[in-house]
Amino acid sequence: MNVISNKWIGQRTIRPDGADKVTGRAAYGADTVMPGMIWARVLRSPHAHARILRIDTSKAEALPGVKAVMTAKDVVEFPLDKSVMLGIQDMRWMCRNVMAREKALFHGHPVAAVAATTEAIAAEACALIEVEYEVLPWVIEIEDAIKPDAPILHDFIKLDGKPSNIAGKLEHKLGDVDAGFAQADVVIEREFKTRPVHQGYIESHACLVSVSPDGKATIWSSSQGQFMVRAMSAYLTGIPQSDIRAIPAEIGGGFGGKTIIYLEPLALILARKSGRPVKMIMSREEVFRASGPTSGSMSKVKIGATKDGKIVAAQGTFYLQAGALPGSPIRGAAGCAFAPYDIPNVHSLGFDVVSNRSKVAAYRAPGAPIGAYAVECVVDEIAEALKMDPLELRLKNAAKQGTKAAHGPVYPRIGFVETIEAALAHPHYKAPLGKHQGRGVASGFWFNAGGESSAQVNVTEDGNVVVTTGHPDIGGSRASTANITAELLGIDYKRVSVLIGDTATIGYSNLTGGSRVTFASAMVVTQSTEKVITTLRERAAKIWKIDPEAVTWDDGEARPAGDNAGKFPALTLAEIAAKASETGGPIGAGVQLNTAGAEGGFATHVCDVEVDLDLGIVRVLRYTSFQDVGRAIHPSYVEGQMQGGAAQGIGWALSEEYIYDKKGRVDNASFLDYRMPVCSDLPMLDTVIIEVPNPKHPQGVRGVGEVPLVPPLAAVSNAVYNALGRRFYSLPMSPPRVLEVLEGA
């Protein structure tokens, strides 16, 4: 690890993109226009499940102002029997998700799209498209979808040789659970349900696509990865990746929901057909109906412990909704559920269940909050049964360096214990509670990811620095990059500009996701900057005519060292830059890596609630998150991740859910009816940053962004139990449900 001087790393610098974002200059997905631009709209299925017998677009095409119409036949088809993966996405499903092919699989599934001179004409033309449907029986909830006589979405998905809605299974085993349970003095088994929730980014999906007559395409869009946009668009349109330039707009929130695309291939096809730049923006209603959400779930968790509080066995079964096409985050649910604990005998099982809902997309630690909700509630019950403090029980069983996790790894140095100890020692944990108030705790784990990243660090002729990376900056990552570069070069932070390159100007970089951006970009930026420093030393050596080994780089300048110390006046970055062309040319370096060593992240949350017994409203009174972040490069944005995740978790626990009507249609597709926390719903969200440096990272960074959403569901739920003396086994604990439980008592 580098010596940390703390001049810039760990400072609360002003983000490089900040001024643009507080003045309205920053260009998001919907903010770019082009001369000659036309607008496209999508025609969506009015049915939850229907075979598409015929589509007649002739009337739409004849409408004045219409420039192009497309259907699934314009999208590259990937046969059902052969998987083609891009990251975790299978193109078989993506090609059917962006445009319904054999069948419409959910209400809101795209069936056709029209580009016209105005949005109004495009919408009018959509209404003129005739689609003949054979309406099929549909199924929405997991418990219905896994029944033997359930309507089957896909005949080709088979379980034990028979068509099934169970599209996948994942299993983790450690030790022998039966033997483990036999040793237990207390065994508790419970069933839980959670509802699908949407990522809720405030910026809708939007893009602008232009295709020039030579077939080269440019895409401006807001996503969690311009390279993902390029690759998926290439797959779905057949255009080579080298002919697509994907330019990342500023992104107005993603939380995983923008790790796949919906509009770009449609706009690309329409732009190619019409010869005009095509702009598309999803309405909020479309965002709710046909993008995201994360899975709803049904789980069963059984945990056994000895009298002295040692957890000896744990078993979990997690059914997750995939939506209409396979691919729910069972790995996150089954893999993370027991990962915080050192348990010798574990059996964790996940099932991927399709039903007639929109295909799920990643949502912040995908699947992990679902697993943790069930496990952390049962752990709470175990503590109660053993008359132990719930944090002490967690501490006693906490995973540490050397613990073998059921999902595979043996942990290196991790900071889980430190999060629990910090929570135990915090005044919040001892603060008195009033009537109808309760306190809950929960912990959580997320894998974190490394993966491909690229960076280019260039010294300008006037001796300043421009850093380009390939990751859309959702929450301040440019500030972290600037902090690191300034630190290593020993120059003022303000002399570093940080840009996000497009697919033509920077090397391949994987998604802004998996809590990987600060981790991975710090690695490539560090290596690039170190190369630049080597060059700067060489140039100074050349000027002084001494050996480069005899030059050090300190405090932003080259200094002669060893025998030569003091012989020449130091050369600043600006002085070396000014002589660059005489000493060997431009100064800059790029590094591309497949980064590894992103060790897991852990957090413990403490939540106080008050329940209004008349109205059934649960209010969060106080909330404190304790998280091991490895090293906080920019503490404000680390805290921001912790606070944002806690708020989303509180929404998931208390108010957010999809409501379906009797015809299998989403009945609450608006911000008014899909109830995310607003400012007056929340208290301040306190954070305690714990820094147990990741030994595998130059600055000690661990991923930060996703862990914060793992503990809150159970923390809130356990707090409600503590307030009411009654447990909820399903979310959200919205006022009608709270009243139901209170009245049923």
Binding site: R15, G252, R284, G476, E639, G640, S670
Partner: protein
């Protein structure tokens, strides 16, 4: 459909534009006038991303017809800074990291400025209820509320 002619004032500048009778003010601002600093999150009055002030009153521009701007004074995010001098709220939002993705930020700033004009000394609860119409999915509101309170304090100090 014949377009309507609208004469209005935006950020202190007289402006004229043509609009469809059914066009929202948000659409006219973002589309016709190219003032894309005002954001759209829903188009139905539920997120506050499109917040502007109309004759000093905080409104959702997505819920207003463009034609209703006739003869009125509109303030948008583009007029909040005076040249290079950021408004104290803008500066504080940067210093305190009260934005992550930033899509809610223009609306938040417009709403917060409007609050401080009416109530220079708001309580935390007053800030929270005033901003309850402005959704932010990234921050959990903590740093936003703190930034507004701190700006209020500083502005009171400066006014003394």
């Amino acid at each position: 459909m014949a377009k309507l002619h609208v004469a209005t004032t935006i950020n202190g500048e007289p402006m004229e534009f043509l609009c469809d009778p059914g066009q929202s003010l948000l659409d006219a601002l973002r589309g016709t006038l190219g003032l894309t600093g005002t954001k759209e999150g829903c188009g139905t009055g539920d997120c506050g991303a499109c917040s502007i002030t109309l004759d000093g009153r905080l409104v959702c521009s997505c819920l207003m017809l463009a034609a209703e701007a006739e003869g009125r004074e509109i303030a948008t995010i583009e007029g909040m800074a005076a040249g290079e001098d950021l408004h104290p709220l803008q500066q504080k939002f940067l210093e305190m990291a009260a934005l992550q993705c930033g899509i809610c930020t223009p609306g938040m700033l417009i709403a917060a400025r409007n609050l401080l004009e009416r109530n220079p000394d708001p309580t935390e609860t007053e800030v929270r209820f005033w901003l309850a119409g402005n959704l932010c999915r990234c921050t959990g509101y903590d740093k936003i509320v703190r930034a507004v309170m701190e700006t209020a304090e500083e502005m009171r100090g400066a006014a003394r």
